[in-house]
């Protein structure tokens, strides 16, 4: 009986596949399930003749076959009915469609992607460096010798073995200059660490570092680059303001601000009435830094700049507590489009 079941099943599948149109499908139904001469019906009838021991197993097999046949016929009837333009099944067009919805990238990643894209378009290379750094790369090579008071600005996490968690992405400048010959045009985006935690400071955050070195690079190039970059990041016309400031690895040094993206520069709550929003630090590479990496500061000049990725994410997304960015609450993450 069992081999007969398998044979009928194969035969049915072939017949149904060959049946085109509702009439043909109906013919297949009669051939297999017809009350008098249907092949499956006949099998069930034959069951009566089997001895009790084998009857149960065979009955199971035949019932499986019958279920298969009925399901396949029902599906075939539905599809041929539609194909013929007959009474279609009603469809609710207001129901949402079906697709695997993408997940949501972290806001920091979104900003990071945007910044990478802007600099890649400008022909910069993407560089990286270790997160656990030596004092040399994090401080000394950047013209911050031991006991330099400017080290106070960077609350450092120290790690066993005389190393530290990098406090900025600036060590990547040094590593890149050591391993390349100029001209250099690089950005490094990465995680940095400072021993500080409040509404606007997270002990772990992300920075962008830029460095351009060649003959004839000037402060005007720095200004133009920052201006272009800030306009692209915020996708609008804005003006940039450089103010003298002090970072030991640049001279002249600057902080740069953009005209407030909320009020356009007239003064509002977000810019504390100043019309400007602070962006980051920048300047011309200090000759002592060039000397450290064996570059000739008479021949080469360069500029460097940095900024915080969280800061841009918070500004553009309207987040006022940096810690929200590290809770990974899906109710927050899903607010920002994939």
């Amino acid at each position: 009986v069992e081999s007969r079941v398998a044979q009928i099943r194969r035969q049915f599948d072939r017949d149904l596949a060959a049946a085109e149109g509702p009439t043909a499908v109906e013919e297949v139904r009669v051939r297999y399930l017809g009350r008098k001469s249907g092949l499956v019906t006949a099998l069930l009838r034959d069951l009566r003749d089997l001895p009790g021991a084998r009857r149960a197993a065979a009955g199971q097999a035949i019932n499986d076959l019958k279920a298969h046949v009925e399901a396949a016929l029902a599906a075939a009837e539905r599809s041929t009915a539609r194909g013929r333009g007959q009474e279609p099944e009603p469809i609710d067009l207001t129901l949402p469609g079906r697709a695997q919805r993408p997940g949501h990238p972290h806001p920091i990643t979104r900003v990071r992607d945007l910044i990478e894209e802007i600099f890649l378009e400008m022909g910069y290379s993407l560089e990286s460096g270790p997160e656990v750094e030596t004092d040399y790369y994090n401080f000394e090579a950047l013209n911050l010798p031991p006991h330099h008071p400017a080290r106070d600005m960077q609350d450092t996490f120290y790690v066993e073995g005389g190393v530290l968690l990098r406090t900025h992405t600036s060590p990547v400048q040094i590593r890149t200059m050591e391993s390349r010959r100029p001209p250099i045009k690089m950005v490094a985006l990465g995680t940095v660490f400072r021993r500080d935690s409040d509404l606007t400071h997270s002990p772990v955050f992300h920075q962008v570092e830029g460095l351009v070195v060649d003959e004839g690079i000037s402060f005007a190039h720095l200004k133009g680059t920052l201006e272009h970059f800030c306009r692209r990041v915020f996708d609008r016309e804005l003006s940039i303001r450089l103010r003298p400031s002090y970072f030991p690895f640049v001279e002249p040094g600057a902080e740069y601000d953009i005209s407030c993206i909320f009020c356009g520069g007239g003064g509002c709550r977000r810019c504390k009435g100043s019309g400007y929003i602070e962006m980051g630090g920048a300047g011309m590479v200090h000759p002592a830094v060039f000397e450290r990496v064996g570059y000739d500061p008479e021949r080469l000049t360069g500029f460097a700049f940095g900024l915080g990725i969280e800061r841009i994410a918070m500004l553009t997304l309207g987040i006022d507590d940096i810690r929200l960015l590290y809770e990974n609450d899906l109710r927050v993450l899903s607010q920002f489009p994939a």
């Binding site: 069992e2 079941v5 398998a6 099943r9 065979a58 097999a61 499986d64 949402p96 695997q100 919805r101 993408p102 997940g103 949501h104 972290h106 920091i108 890649l120 022909g123 290379s125 993407l126 270790p130 997160e131 656990v132 006991h147 008071p149 400017a150 120290y158 790690v159 066993e160 073995g161 001209p183 045009k185 660490f193 021993r195 002990p203 772990v204 351009v212 060649d214 000037s218 402060f219 005007a220 190039h221 200004k223 133009g224 680059t225 940039i240 103010r243 400031s245 002090y246 001279e251 002249p252 600057a254 902080e255 011309m284 590290y326 809770e327 990974n328 609450d329 899906l330 109710r331 993450l333």
Partner: protein, 686 residues
């Protein structure tokens, strides 16, 4: 740092509103952080940068303002009147550590009456938030905020032998400082001692025993220049930070000691009476000469990208008290004033010019660099592909701190040994560097599930730090992911399901697909943080990539998760190195394929992989595909077994297969499955 408008007016004429003054100073690198009050009562809060100790006082700010506006600068007068005998008769002075004390100037004021300061003096200090103490101490404080030079006043009668010795502390010496704390001193610390013992920490803080008090009659005034690094070390070692140490650390004016001393002595005599010893003591064991720097106007133009004009550059430098000798017009010989310890080389002078000419005047230009190497590296591309793979699969991205508890590392990377310790953590539960991304992701899952979300699907790409003692930790970039609660996709037309092991495995497969790797291999293993029998090692071409599976119940419960969690973690470096087979076009076969489905009943111990292997081994005909398309347990299938539906597609590249040979192959397959794996066709008995 606070500055009073009225106080500034003593040294420079200001003909504009305080807000305008603040804007001007900001543009010159002295950023206004806040402005309180208005008119003469205005108080500026200026964030003076670390390298400008010369601006940490009113005269310094007035000097900058005068240089910016062209207004004349009025220096305070300091001509001691009512002078008595020489200082050397009243007190003795010796410098035993000339390496740490380049200069020490002193005068005494004898016969003072210590008391309250007159109103003008008290008000000056109060206007910038300083608390008046007594007339003598207030004068030293006033001079600090006026001229910037830190001074110290000793009660001369309390100095043993009326003697000042500048020396390193001796082992075992202690000093009770003004705040009442007894400090243990070490020989690296520079102290001011009397004939017997330390009476002050040089440049940091005074001692209580020699403090000026109501009974003080004779005062010794110290005005010195201490080594910045020494002051900083001492202050740090003792956890002290004073107005004096703040300035000495950053570099005081070695030529300013006498001016400050004379100013303070005159004022003390004025407000507390007494006679001033004269001449002062002034030991200069190590003169600090003024720096001379070459300045090339052409270099300034090239570095700035703008030409401020030579006259303007000269004017700026001169107003800032730089001396200029232009022996040749293209290279000036510039002498740096002694109070500008920050100006060391030509670039610093160029900044002076730029900052006073105004950064606003610098034009914008974009550099063009032919030949710079550009673009993304391979690791960046791997990172992007992995991220796209998981985002596409519906997972959202998390970012966690790299600091965690040692217990996390013990649970998730016991083989790595004790994790790398942070010596000064912010919190004890964040005292080591993470060795796995999974603890952070489990905390995120707990957070989300506890806030009522039905499902949580998260991944993170980040660094882990594997100990490699005695060297620095080995950094690896990894991707980790978790699935908990409702499975994906979610749609009204699909049955609801809970996340399961195949989500964890599928995420790895998805990553492999996005990186175009050969199919990854998965092998069952014992993994400490994964459930037994639900733990997989993931590999590509035999190289380990990571793990995937169900998180062990005891572990997920420790993170506060009450339902099953499925997770995985792969190494991005290993993924990047995994060989991706070369993709070449294969002609699409013109011959028809033949599909056969088999519904098998398999005992629970038989893995699908064995079925597929057997099919491929015995088919005897070329196979285009072997795929499982259904797995079912329940009514209709005997207990202890499952029904597995597989699809086999036969296709010969060159000829059409005959029905009989396909039938024979299927029968051979069915037979082998029965013989080797005990499988039987569903619906067939025996």
């Amino acid at each position: 740092m606070k500055f009073s408008h009225a106080w500034l007016l003593a040294y420079v004429t200001i003909g504009e509103e305080p807000a305008r003054v603040g804007a001007r100073l900001t543009a010159a690198g002295l950023p206004l952080d806040g402005l309180e009050g208005s008119g003469d009562a205005a108080v500026y809060d200026i964030d003076v940068v670390t390298n400008r100790p010369d601006c940490m006082n009113h005269l310094g700010i007035a000097r900058e303002y005068a240089a910016l506006t062209g207004a004349p600068l009025r220096r305070p007068e300091a001509r001691p009147a009512r002078v008595g005998g020489p200082t050397a008769k009243a007190a003795a002075l010796a410098i035993e550590a000339p390496d740490l004390c380049a200069r020490y100037s002193a005068r005494c004021v004898l016969g003072v009456r210590v008391g309250r300061s007159p109103d003008w003096l008290a008000r000056r200090l109060e206007s910038i938030g300083q608390r008046p103490i007594n007339n003598v101490v207030d004068v030293t404080n006033f001079v600090l905020w006026e001229l910037g030079h830190p001074l110290h006043a000793f009660d001369l009668s309390r100095l043993e032998g009326r003697r000042i010795v500048v020396r390193r502390a001796r082992p075992g010496e202690t000093l009770t400082t003004l705040d009442g704390a007894a400090r243990a001193l070490t020989p690296e610390m520079l102290v001011i001692a009397d004939g017997l013992r330390p009476v002050a920490l040089a440049g940091v803080v005074g001692g209580r025993d020699s403090e000026i008090g109501a009974g003080t009659r004779d005062v010794l005034l110290e005005s010195a220049w201490f080594d910045p690094v020494s002051v900083r070390r001492t202050a740090r070692a003792l956890g002290l930070r004073t107005d004096a140490s703040h300035r000495f650390e950053r570099g005081a004016d070695p030529e300013g000691t006498l001016a400050a001393l004379d100013r303070a002595a005159s004022l003390i005599a004025e407000v507390a009476g007494g006679t001033i010893t004269d001449p002062p003591l002034d030991l200069v064991p190590r003169p600090l000469p003024r720096r001379r720097i070459r300045f090339r106007p052409a270099r300034a133009r090239a570095l700035l990208g703008v030409d401020p004009g030579e006259e303007r550059m000269r004017g700026i430098l001169e107003r800032l008290e730089f001396g200029i000798e232009a022996a040749v017009p293209e290279a000036w010989d510039v002498t740096v004033p002694s109070f500008r310890r920050d100006v060391e080389r030509e670039a610093d002078l160029i900044e002076e010019v730029a900052r006073h000419a105004g950064y606003d005047g610098i034009p914008s230009a974009l550099p063009t660099l032919p030949g710079a190497e550009g673009g993304r590296g391979r690791s960046d591309r791997t990172r992007l592909a992995v991220r796209r793979a998981l985002l596409t699969a519906g997972l959202s991205e998390a970012k966690n701190y790299v600091m965690e508890e040692a217990e996390d590392a013990r649970l998730f990377a016991p083989e790595a040994g004790p994790p790398v310790v942070i010596e000064n953590p912010l919190q004890s539960q964040a005292g080591v560097l993470r060795t796995s991304l999974l603890p952070g992701l489990l905390r995120n899952a707990a957070h989300n599930l506890n806030h009522g979300l039905p499902g949580c699907h998260l991944f993170e790409i980040g660094t882990v730090f594997l100990p490699a003692r005695p060297g620095p930790p080995r950094e690896r970039t990894r991707v980790g992911y978790v699935f908990a609660g409702r499975g994906l996709p979610v749609h009204w037309s699909l049955p609801r399901r809970e996340a399961d092991l195949y989500d964890a495995r599928g995420a790895a497969e998805q990553i492999g697909a996005f990186l175009a790797l050969s199919p990854l291999t998965f092998s069952s293993d014992t993994i400490p943080f994964l459930e037994g029998g639900r733990a997989l090692r993931v590999a590509a071409d035999g190289r380990p990539l990571g793990v995937a599976g169900e998180v062990a119940r005891v572990i997920r419960e420790r993170y506060g998760i009450g339902r099953p969690v499925f997770a995985g973690e792969l190494d991005l470096g290993a993924l990047q190195e995994a060989p991706a087979p070369e993709r070449r076009y294969h002609p699409v076969p013109r011959t028809p394929s033949v599909r056969r489905d088999l519904a098998l009943v398999l005992g629970d111990g038989v893995p699908y992989a064995a079925v597929e292997t057997t099919v491929r081994r015995v088919a005897g005909l070329p196979l285009a595909e072997v795929q499982v398309f259904d797995r079912y347990r329940g009514p209709g299938v005997p207990a202890g077994s499952a029904s597995l539906a597989i699809q086999i597609v036969f296709q010969h590249p060159e000829r059409t297969l005959q029905a009989e040979e396909v039938q024979a192959a299927v029968e051979a397959i069915v037979q082998a499955l029965r013989r080797d794996l005990g499988a039987r066709l569903r619906g067939a008995a025996g």
